[in-house]
């Protein structure tokens, strides 16, 4: 019984990491039609920043990780995506692959060289607390609390601030938002900055959990967040968060409960569950305004925007 609760709590913590990551993906996807596969490399940048600043105290490490990842996210927008502002989603997608592979290659050539690196978890983070027979690590509790705080902050930002209203309007109809005076550069940079902030939180919590650091560290989380976002419905931030959470939690639960001989096939079972979800709910768990595929096929050319047929 207590073991079951333990697994559940751990799955919630693991799932919530991907909820945060999926929100970052969905935000960019909705604002500018970009499916940013270079998101994984933000995790990589965060992981190596943690590795190199691990000696400067946990506060310094957190601050540097947040700064580096957010700056890299903004730089990505400026260098790789701003010049392609009016390009089709497919072009943006290919560009994001290029950014992803380039950054990974740079990672392998520089910080990734040599022996396997890692960030030793702080002992007080991994120490398990005994809550009426249920053993919970502090990291699990911190992960869940951080996620709740981030989701609440995102909700407040989106609902209560001018920037939030502009972001929501842009996710719904980017061109119309510009036509009522929302500055495209400002709102897109803000979306990348938010994505960077969320990515840095994911990097911190994910690396503290896994310990090891490598240039391809972001690939796994990216896949889970992306597929999770799709099953949740990338058209809505809440849907993407829910999907990321569900898939992350499923993977963690499978890892904990599958017999040893099947453990290496965790992803197989997780993605079978994805297919099952999509068969019954093709628009995503939160089917708002069309699923991922329909949204993805939509071009943001003026010719599609009600100009005379």
């Amino acid at each position: 019984m207590s073991e079951g609760i333990q697994y559940t709590l751990d799955s919630i913590a693991f799932g919530s990491l991907f909820a945060v990551m999926a929100i970052g993906l969905a935000l960019l996807f909705n604002v500018m039609g970009l499916m940013n596969f270079a998101y994984g490399e933000l995790i990589m940048a965060g992981a190596y920043t943690m590795y190199y600043t691990r000696g400067s105290g946990w506060l310094g490490m957190i601050a540097m990780t947040v700064i580096v990842v957010t700056a890299l996210s903004l730089l990505m927008e400026l260098v790789a995506f701003r010049p392609l502002r009016n390009a089709s989603p497919i072009t943006l997608l290919v560009s994001s692959f290029a950014v992803s592979y380039s950054l990974q290659a740079v990672g392998w050539m520089t910080v990734g060289k040599g022996p396997q690196k890692g960030v030793e978890p702080y002992p007080w983070l991994t120490r398990q607390l005994d809550v009426s027979g249920v053993l919970v690590s502090r990291l699990t509790i911190i992960t869940v609390i951080t996620t709740i705080v981030l989701l609440a902050a995102m909700t407040l930002l989106l609902k209560r601030t001018t920037l939030g209203i502009q972001l929501r309007a842009s996710t719904e109809d980017f061109r119309m938002a510009q036509l009522v005076g929302v500055k495209a550069n400002w709102v897109i940079s803000a979306a990348f900055a938010i994505t960077g902030l969320l990515g840095s939180a994911v990097a911190l919590l994910y690396v503290l959990r896994s310990g090891s650091v490598s240039p391809d560290i972001g690939l796994g989380p990216l896949l889970v967040a992306f597929v999770g976002g799709v099953i949740g419905g990338l058209g809505s931030l809440a849907g993407a968060a829910l999907g990321g959470f569900v898939l992350g939690a499923i993977i963690n639960a499978l890892q904990a409960t599958l017999p040893i001989t099947l453990k290496s096939h965790t992803q197989l079972f997780a993605f079978l569950a994805v297919i099952a979800i999509l068969v019954f709910q093709p628009g995503g768990l939160v089917a708002l305004r069309g699923g991922f595929l329909r949204r993805f096929s939509r071009r943001r050319r003026p010719a599609d925007e009600g100009v005379e047929a």
Binding site: I165, E172, R175, A177, V180, G181, V182, G306, V307, E308
Partner: protein, 230 residues
């Protein structure tokens, strides 16, 4: 104006003077909306120029053109359905720096269009077509435009609501708002407008003039007014 190699609007010459309500009517596909998209900066003209208050605005971004004082009420209203009515109004003031005055303008807009004041917290998508049109006009007016562009504001609305929209336009005209009204409803447009341009395919202007002048043109009456009444 070209879409790829297809010339959608060519050799168009159109002028709106301060305080005027100018109509632009024509058949489906004539290039009316393309003209508005080009003025607002969504499309770039492949040749020619667009000047506003003596300055060229061709090639500027849509938000920069709005800041110059040109605001659009788009076809199909395109209000933000997931935002509340209040948020839709508030985003209409995005280009303004005078926050307090903008807030006061939002309150005034709610008095002018009482339905918006009543449903301030309701999602935009939950409004009826006529209510959405009022919201779209209010949102555009909140930018305090020097020129208001309206793209088929009565499209898809019930006849009674169409009357309401034309009443609003007549009121705005009384208040001195400069407007360029694109419409398929030629008769109503000519009635309310100071001058009307009649466009045919490719953006060429067939006729232009006041209601009286147009009524006197035999070809025009047969081609447009007769058809519109039929």
């Amino acid at each position: 104006m070209h879409y790829g190699r297809i010339a959608a609007v060519q050799s168009l010459s159109l002028e709106v003077n301060e305080g005027e309500l100018v109509g632009l009517v024509g058949h489906n596909g004539a290039g009316k909306s393309t003209t508005l998209w080009t003025i607002t900066g969504v499309l770039r003209p492949s040749a020619g120029d667009i000047t506003f208050r003596g300055q060229s605005i061709a090639g500027l971004s849509p938000d920069a053109i709005l800041r110059q004082g040109i605001s659009l009420v788009p076809e199909n209203r395109r209000i933000f359905g997931r935002l509340t009515v209040g948020e839709n109004l508030s985003i209409g003031t995005s280009a303004r720096k005078d926050r307090k005055e903008a807030e006061a303008d939002i309150r005034r807009m709610c008095e002018r269009f009482p339905v918006l004041g009543t449903f301030l917290d309701r999602a935009g998508s939950k409004l009826s077509g006529g209510e959405q049109q009022q919201l779209a006009i209010a949102r555009a007016l909140l930018a305090r435009p020097k020129l208001l562009l309206l793209d088929e504001p009565t499209l898809g609305l019930a006849p009674l609501i169409v009357d309401q929209v034309f009443e609003i336009l007549a009121e705005l005209k009384q208040e001195g708002v400069t407007m360029l009204l694109v419409e398929q409803n030629a008769v109503r447009t000519i009635e309310v407008a100071d001058r009307t341009y009649v466009m045919r395919s490719g953006g060429r202007i067939d006729f232009q003039g006041t209601a009286q002048e147009l009524a006197g043109m035999v070809d025009f009456a047969a081609a447009y007014i007769g058809m519109a009444r039929g």
